[in-house]
């Protein structure tokens, strides 16, 4: 059935303030459609964001929302989840927000396997503040603070999340919004720390510096750079250089979730 977006959006805040064609909206829509398909009620959802273009998303949705500080969405979300374990807590965060200033918070939430769903809007750049490079800016590409091309190796955020202890890790992009929606839906349903790396187009701050100032062209480039897990299995390391492997990359239902562990601890202490 068609999704009635107005059920989930603060319609009076529209039109979106994002640049024409910005992937933030595509990812937000995928998230809303996933929630609609799950049949969740607005009042059972807490959406938390940090600071950045992508983090503005919390202003548009009619859930419980907090627009926190740059990099601090995950600790705020952690606190909310600890106090309200029955609430669905979603973090919507930029690549800079979650892996630069907020990187430490991010890995420790993964380590604890707390039941959050973290959607990383991975547009390879600090969009809001003028195109500074982030830990996810592809090596060799230009940023305002790397005008001759980025010399930093970038994180593979999916590997990082998995290594740090997250129990659901998936990647897709704005070039495959239906698949992205399915992964977000799976991540939302998963009990434990879920990380969805959502590759996105910032054709303004990343694109204009790298000859992809047009949103359609940049979405095409993202499509070119992604390969499915099945395809990647047949490719050599050399062929996979600079590519992003998409799919559900890791799923583990055996590891204990953090609020559950805490609940058990409280019950044990009360029975002593």
């Amino acid at each position: 059935m068609a999704t009635d977006y107005s059920k989930y959006l603060r319609m009076e805040k529209l039109p979106l303030y994002w640049c024409p064609g910005c992937g933030n909206g595509t990812i937000l829509k995928a998230m809303i459609t996933a929630i609609d398909e799950l049949g969740w009620q607005n009042d059972d959802i807490m959406m938390v964001s940090g600071i950045g273009c992508s983090s503005r998303a919390t202003g548009y949705v009619d859930f419980h929302t907090i627009h926190t500080l740059h990099g601090r969405a995950v600790p705020v979300a952690t606190a909310i989840k600890m106090c309200h374990p029955d609430m669905h807590v979603i973090v919507f965060s930029g690549d800079g927000d979650s892996t630069a200033i907020g990187g430490n918070h991010f890995i420790h939430a993964c380590r604890r396997n707390i039941d959050l769903t973290v959607i990383i809007v991975d547009n390879w750049i600090y969009g809001m503040t003028g195109g500074q490079y982030s830990p996810l800016t592809p090596t060799g590409t230009k940023a305002s603070t790397m005008p001759r091309g980025n010399i930093d190796p970038n994180f593979d955020i999916a590997e990082l999340a998995k290594g740090a202890g997250a129990t659901f890790v998936a990647r897709s992009s704005v070039a495959d919004p239906m698949i992205l929606k399915n992964y977000i839906k799976k991540g939302l349903s998963h009990k434990g720390m879920s990380v969805i790396d959502a590759l996105s187009n910032c054709h303004i701050q990343w694109g204009r510096r790298n000859k992809y100032g047009d949103p359609v062209k940049l979405v095409d480039l993202i499509k070119e750079k992604t390969v499915t897990k099945a395809k990647a299995a047949k490719m050599s390391e050399e062929e996979l250089k600079g590519k992003y492997v998409t799919g559900i990359l890791y799923e583990n239902t055996a590891k204990k979730e953090y609020t559950q562990a805490y609940k058990e601890l409280v019950e044990k202490a009360q029975n002593e």
């Binding site: 059935m1 068609a2 977006y5 959006l9 529209l14 039109p15 979106l16 994002w18 024409p20 064609g21 910005c22 992937g23 933030n24 909206g25 595509t26 829509k29 995928a30 459609t33 704005v174 919004p177 239906m178 929606k181 047009d214 949103p215 359609v216 979405v219 095409d220």
Partner: protein
């Protein structure tokens, strides 16, 4: 007369004429048309509604919540690109 219901509708208050839906449409239904509406000087218009297969690719790809596709099965009544009134049920 039945109420007008096209298969796909653009909300011109939300559309930014980014062109993403036009790129993903497999049936070439949509087009950017010159208009004094937004700062880009154009607007996304449903030019050939009769060709729409209601696949929703445009809707899921639109970053601005600006295009909606009617579910398959809902009856449609609209004016096609040649100016004829069309009724479609499937």
């Amino acid at each position: 007369m039945a109420v007008e219901q096209a298969p796909v509708v653009v909300n011109e208050d939300l559309c930014t004429a980014c062109g993403i839906c036009i790129k993903v449409c497999p049936k070439n239904v949509l087009e950017l048309v010159e208009a004094l509406h937004v700062w880009t000087g154009s607007m996304c218009k449903v030019q050939r509604p009769e060709d729409c297969i209601r696949c929703k690719l445009c809707e899921v790809a639109c970053p601005h919540f600006a295009i909606d596709v009617v579910d398959v099965g809902v009856e449609l009544t609209f004016t096609d690109s040649k100016g004829n009134q069309v009724t479609k049920s499937k």
